[in-house]
Amino acid sequence: MRTISGPSATARALTAIFQKGIKHYIRYPGNLLLIFAMPFMLTVMIFGMGQFVGGSNAALNFAARTGTSNILVYEILGSAVWMISWVVVEDVGVALRDEQMKGTLEQNFLAPINRVTLLIGLSLTDVVITTILFFGVAGVTIMVTMPAAFLSLIQAFLALLIGLIPLFGIGFLFAGFVIRFKEPYIFTQILNLLFATLTGTYYPVTLLPYWVQFLSGALPQTYVIEDMRRIVLANQTLVSLYGSVFILLALALAYPTVGYTVFKHLEKKASVTGEFSKY
């Protein structure tokens, strides 16, 4: 039996993992529908709460604090990025646990591929899913409410693509924890709720206490959300936001490095304790 080696072998394995992920998404369509509906539902909920708390001054207060009167686009961009980060962190972080529950993790680990290749392959699936999610949620909203700004979405999407790299790093980190300690949803759901609170999903980060803003500054979503809003709602360009992009690039280096190191360490521990086949 002839085999292939080197980058072409890795590319083929990545493609297979990617295709498998896409097929699973398509064959479980309910999940896909939910992640499309969630940003809209959350935005409506936040809008309603804002009206209730702010009363007749709600819109004016919002404009004073955010610099825009377009509440819908402001909130939907935050919601879309939150949902995308939810999908990435949960998919990558929980993917190996899902394989473990299906009984297929060991089969994958028996193959002569680097185990991180599995995580990267799953991440590729998420790039496609998040692209569809982004254009399906933010794209549709902007097309309907401010069609003139539609082209700015391309730049906003580039900011998102850079931001996805550190998010995958966070996913790797949690994949390690999950494979070692099980109970994935405790990790990912607490984390995702913290993300919504800390990264300016529904309000400007500047409203948070000063010390909390330090934590926000360490999270990639904070920059992605802020950059997107500036590009779409304030007509800025990605180039003019170079300071923020630079920080995102630094996070894109730091998170995957830390995530990979922690994953390898915990994966090694799991092979000592025989965790791969445990439920």
Binding site: T3, R12, K20, P112, S277
Partner: protein, 331 residues
Amino acid sequence: MNPVEVRSLSKVFETKEGPLLRKVPKEVVAVDGVSFSVPKGEIFGLLGPNGAGKTTTIKMLCTLIAPTSGDAFVSGFSVAKDQQKVRENLGVMLTGERTMYWKLTGRENLEYFAALYHLDVADAEKRIDELLGLLGLKERQDMLVENYSTGMRIRLSFAKAILNDAPVLLFDEPTASLDPQSSRLIRDIIRGLKKEGHAIILTTHNMEEADLLSDRVAIIDHGKIVALGSPHDLKEKVKSSDIIEIETRNLTDHTANALESFSEVSQVALSTDPHSAEKGLLRIHAEKGKEVLPKILEYLVRKEVTITKVSFIEPTLEDVFISETGRSLRD
């Protein structure tokens, strides 16, 4: 070097037992200094009861579990140091039907694993066609695995194990849950793979299967190999005594064990019917079996045990296990 060399391989799991906040660390020895080798073209059976250490040994060999001490070599590569190379040289079938993706078709599953094993695309397609045909799955190849029967899923899992045509093959209970026809098919394929020169390790708690397929058998109990040899040689060792098999009802362990006090009796093993606790199969190793049989029957009748069948039998690998451990494989 043989394709498989296992040297003093041990695995100790550290667990914690007891109520929450008062858990006490405990060490469980799953495999204890196991050594064996498997040459090309040999089927090597690992036979033992559930929990004996067979699967842990297999999982160490295929790099899923790190050994605590010792080492094993697959095609000359160490499972402790050259894991990627070990995996390239292995085809593995693990127990269970949930080892394939249920939301993919049978063919998609094999294509997926062919990519993970770096198989050339054209060769892989040819191989997949060949295996689907061989295992009787060709007509259902485009059906989602969730719609397969248990037997079909296990056959697909077997196809995945031999997909990369690896020199060393590990099959963990390959015919468990299969109907007799599918079991026969899998056994025939395993024999064919042996003829092609593959080194094959087969774990099973089915002594007939181990006897039928294996060139050599290691009987493993509490993580240790208690006997190793060809099925013929192992059975010859216990031929010095007669083996009496008695089917009973209402026989207790206590009454059975008391038979060991008879001077002619060397081993007694009682296994109960999993479907009916009152039914038991008593196996007695005894010198001059025909002379001692009336005494045994009289004793059992006195203890109000119902006897439904008595026979003298040829030794099986189960008798080897009984002779080495004093227990039945089915315990």
